[in-house]
Symmetry: D2
Amino acid sequence: MTVRAGILGATGAVGQRLIQLLEPHPEFEIAALTASAESAGSQYREAAKWRINMPIPDSVAEMTVTETDPGEVSDDVDLIFSSLPSSIGEEVEPGFCEAGYIVSSNSSNSRADDDVPLTIPEINADHIDLIEVQRDERSWDGALIKNPNCSTITMVPPLAALEDAFGLDSVTVSTLQAVSGAGYSGVSSMEIIDNAIPHIGGEETKMETESRKLLGEFDGAEVSWLDANVDASCNRIPTLDGHLENVWTDTTEDATVEAAKDAMRSYPSLDLHSSPEQLIHVFEQPDRPQPRLDRDTENGMAIAAGGIQETETGLQFNCLAHNTLRGAAGASVLNGELLLERGYL
Amino acid sequence: MTVRAGILGATGAVGQRLIQLLEPHPEFEIAALTASAESAGSQYREAAKWRINMPIPDSVAEMTVTETDPGEVSDDVDLIFSSLPSSIGEEVEPGFCEAGYIVSSNSSNSRADDDVPLTIPEINADHIDLIEVQRDERSWDGALIKNPNCSTITMVPPLAALEDAFGLDSVTVSTLQAVSGAGYSGVSSMEIIDNAIPHIGGEETKMETESRKLLGEFDGAEVSWLDANVDASCNRIPTLDGHLENVWTDTTEDATVEAAKDAMRSYPSLDLHSSPEQLIHVFEQPDRPQPRLDRDTENGMAIAAGGIQETETGLQFNCLAHNTLRGAAGASVLNGELLLERGYL
Amino acid sequence: MTVRAGILGATGAVGQRLIQLLEPHPEFEIAALTASAESAGSQYREAAKWRINMPIPDSVAEMTVTETDPGEVSDDVDLIFSSLPSSIGEEVEPGFCEAGYIVSSNSSNSRADDDVPLTIPEINADHIDLIEVQRDERSWDGALIKNPNCSTITMVPPLAALEDAFGLDSVTVSTLQAVSGAGYSGVSSMEIIDNAIPHIGGEETKMETESRKLLGEFDGAEVSWLDANVDASCNRIPTLDGHLENVWTDTTEDATVEAAKDAMRSYPSLDLHSSPEQLIHVFEQPDRPQPRLDRDTENGMAIAAGGIQETETGLQFNCLAHNTLRGAAGASVLNGELLLERGYL
Amino acid sequence: MTVRAGILGATGAVGQRLIQLLEPHPEFEIAALTASAESAGSQYREAAKWRINMPIPDSVAEMTVTETDPGEVSDDVDLIFSSLPSSIGEEVEPGFCEAGYIVSSNSSNSRADDDVPLTIPEINADHIDLIEVQRDERSWDGALIKNPNCSTITMVPPLAALEDAFGLDSVTVSTLQAVSGAGYSGVSSMEIIDNAIPHIGGEETKMETESRKLLGEFDGAEVSWLDANVDASCNRIPTLDGHLENVWTDTTEDATVEAAKDAMRSYPSLDLHSSPEQLIHVFEQPDRPQPRLDRDTENGMAIAAGGIQETETGLQFNCLAHNTLRGAAGASVLNGELLLERGYL
């Protein structure tokens, strides 16, 4: 028995990745696709400008796209994956939750809300039980669970490994982010060819807040955010997929390169369908990880790290993840798998 | 009367930029071009794979290229601009100095030597008198003066402004560097299309040492390097020209964004031919400076800064410079102009 | 005395180029800027996302943008440069002509109309007198004059030289077009990084029809289009500016490479302000022209040609022009200069 | 039983692709790797700058690389895949053939030789028996078989379909070629970012001669080349993998778009391990095929076609293939499979 799943925002860049991941998924089946009003009523093949280097799955190509409204989605759908612009997500996701749907959302709205679980299953699966608090407070039959921003997901697993091993006092991060993170129409080619843009609106704040919530402690009632200073500078570069990040940490205890590598390599993954065998792949070559060479590691679901060095006050390293797989669609699917494993579905 | 100048390594990416700058220069005239042994004897037009978007100047196109050897360069040449790979620079530059030539070099060898002036004229012109110490120690009639690495030049002017205004305790920098910084054959297109490389061999060390020497105090006998921790992480991205850098500083005194902007904008330029009207252009738009839009500011000789923000312990900002103009060829030419103004030529 | 000029669509990619060209222009002054309704009322600095690597001219930055409506443009404006999407151009340009404005338009609507002059001044300046026919037929005080599509402009000057020298029976052309030809939001970076697109909607037809009209004969009443078959295949590639084209021609008379070079090099330019000294620059190196190296030849207003070879039935060559300068904004300005010289202003 | 295979030039871009294809191959096993003298003696992991987005196979990473000399390769190797620069291929391949090895070569030397089979198995498998003629003439125990150039392979399958259906009188082709076709150090990033190069040395001649040999008739003694005029213009663009081509054909008989699609879609593939299920995939969307979206069709071994239109004298279409898979390494492997099936191994 598979869980029937709907995709909100199915024609966008992340929506297409959700289809790529869900179509062959053993636990989920795609049962509903929504998009903006202009696309509603047309076949997915017509509605989407498909950009992935594999054909649209046949089973999806001829599905009819509906409006993004709970009344348009069949009642036998149990799980909703949401990949909407945050302003629209903010508007429509609560309606789905009220209507009884469990929503695994990649949209950036509500991620910092006290009663909304923000999870990377391998890192803080226990936070998922914030759903109980949420249902109490919001009187929802459904539930809303979020995955973090793509640039946050990239650095949090290695940071979690270092936090466990040495404690983290502060984090400074500079990102080199791929254009697909901004969606299909997010970055014009005239902006980015032979260029780089040292600013991504709102991204720095997302990294600074989400990482502290993810690395926080959940006591059954609330999450105490990690007490560390996080400072981010975000850049867009002419790369298609894969966010690369330079990270500096001040550690509470003294850290060595070897101990840091051990901590990263031994950080446990999970047994969920989309989890990689090894969560963090640590490269020894100083010029790795690189976006084009390493973003597809373990189907794009692993985190790649390298360039680990000691500094005066801690450690420096680089990390990389596929931003639309591990950083977006894959993150939502993984949260869906966690919901299923924990009995919420 | 113009100074007759020779160019060592005239066919390379920086050599071509030197020709672009020197050909119309009112104080210098190009009198000698050297390259590797294979090119010696051929016309410059044949020897060079010209990559600049203007034609080779007529006066240069038909000059004969010689080997990089003092014996091959006419005695009536007074000034040598050197843009050689560092291993070759190390080998041949001392010979030119012994033979009486003054060498303004962009090559990375000897930059950290105690008796070699490493100068950005607007920042530390007084260091040039290390030449006296150098001549005492090395018994040269000529002299060797260096400009720093392109990635160092980009950040040092804004750092100098902040050091003057608030004092610097530490600097952390992440770079997004253009491919031209590696020279014509430095970065294969197969390496960099749809990619980024989080490592540039030796570059981090150059930034960490050169910046401290440049910001140090010269007492007439030696340079006391700036006592601050500098930590760099260097990345290559698919951009042609223009290095962009994210910088974090811990300042000794409290700093505000407005005071930092004032310090940068009021930092004095010089009256040298190639100096910009304003050394540091501070942008108010958060998404500037950008390489393609801002690298050519004031003929590529200005530093662009932006994104200035306060942090827990100091300031964060972005900066940008044209790496083969301000960061290499223009830096050497500017040092030549300083040598002339100070009477060394 | 300068002619007061307005720019329709002033915030777009071509509109920005028009400002770049008109601001320092000795014959024209910018007196009005229009854009879409959302931008109307705001300063140009706010309304435009400026993408050119020079600052917005001060005199323009603070001008107020109005709606694209004749009633919103001051009566003392004499000349209108139009750079609107064709659907909007079709709607609003006639209103400006009725209201007495002379419109030099880059928009693609009406280019094939019998009574609308489609001109490249160096090629078919005499066609401009179609304005008389137009005024008779349309009872306009103003007039509408068009420049061709950027990809057409690139190949027509060398084709005109070959037509004059040998006669043309057929033309086959494959284009490699820069992204700026599609405007700021025309090509998403997700579409074009590490890619090429073998189709540009409507472009092939434009090249096939416009080139025949441009190379046709005007007898004072109508233009007899060139009787030659023109067949185009249009491709978008990841280049910012500069359209490169591979052209094959069947010539009526036998042609040699040397005679073809002579014909191109000796093809006359005009004495208009924006005309290049030499209209067609012929390169001898087989790997030229190249977009980045050659698009700026003579301020981006020259045509570059190269790779001329004999084939079984005629000649093969490559050509290149800067698509937003010679191919769009510069083409409209040049038509404005022609209107002025011929007494229409 | 698998055939033991050696790879000449194993560290290059095509050599790496050969390893990618041969390591999991059911019929071949990698038994020898050669490279230049400097690499000889080192492990493959050290010798190669691996650029493919999967790790080096473990079984290969620790193999020792030898010099490219028959004496250095074990006698129990039966088949040699050669991916050498043509000047080196010309020098060393005959020695391997004399020493008894069968050489399936991607190097461009000898492709036009009368007694050397040049084959695309799905197109002209029967030409392989030129080996008999070759052995007679050259007294070799081994044999030399070639696959064509990457840009030739891309267009020949659709041309073969059209030749069978309508007859071909002439072919005109313009290519948009990826940088990987020039090998790892073939195209500098400084050459190609924001640029295109309208010339690839020798490539036009290769396309013009090889396509006529491939489409020729073999009568058991010699190949009569196709009697058609082929005219090519070759361009390099900033794309990593995948050659896109615009092709015009004059057909002997009248051709329609539908008949052309049928001819292409029904052109038979083979039952060899690396042959695609369908040799030519015909796209209906006018903007396909595109390199990034379509180069991996059927593991990069299919040919993609689209944009088929009627012209005055024949047909126009676009085609695409993965240049280092179908166009190089995969082509050599496929020839190896053909040799095995036909009993030459």
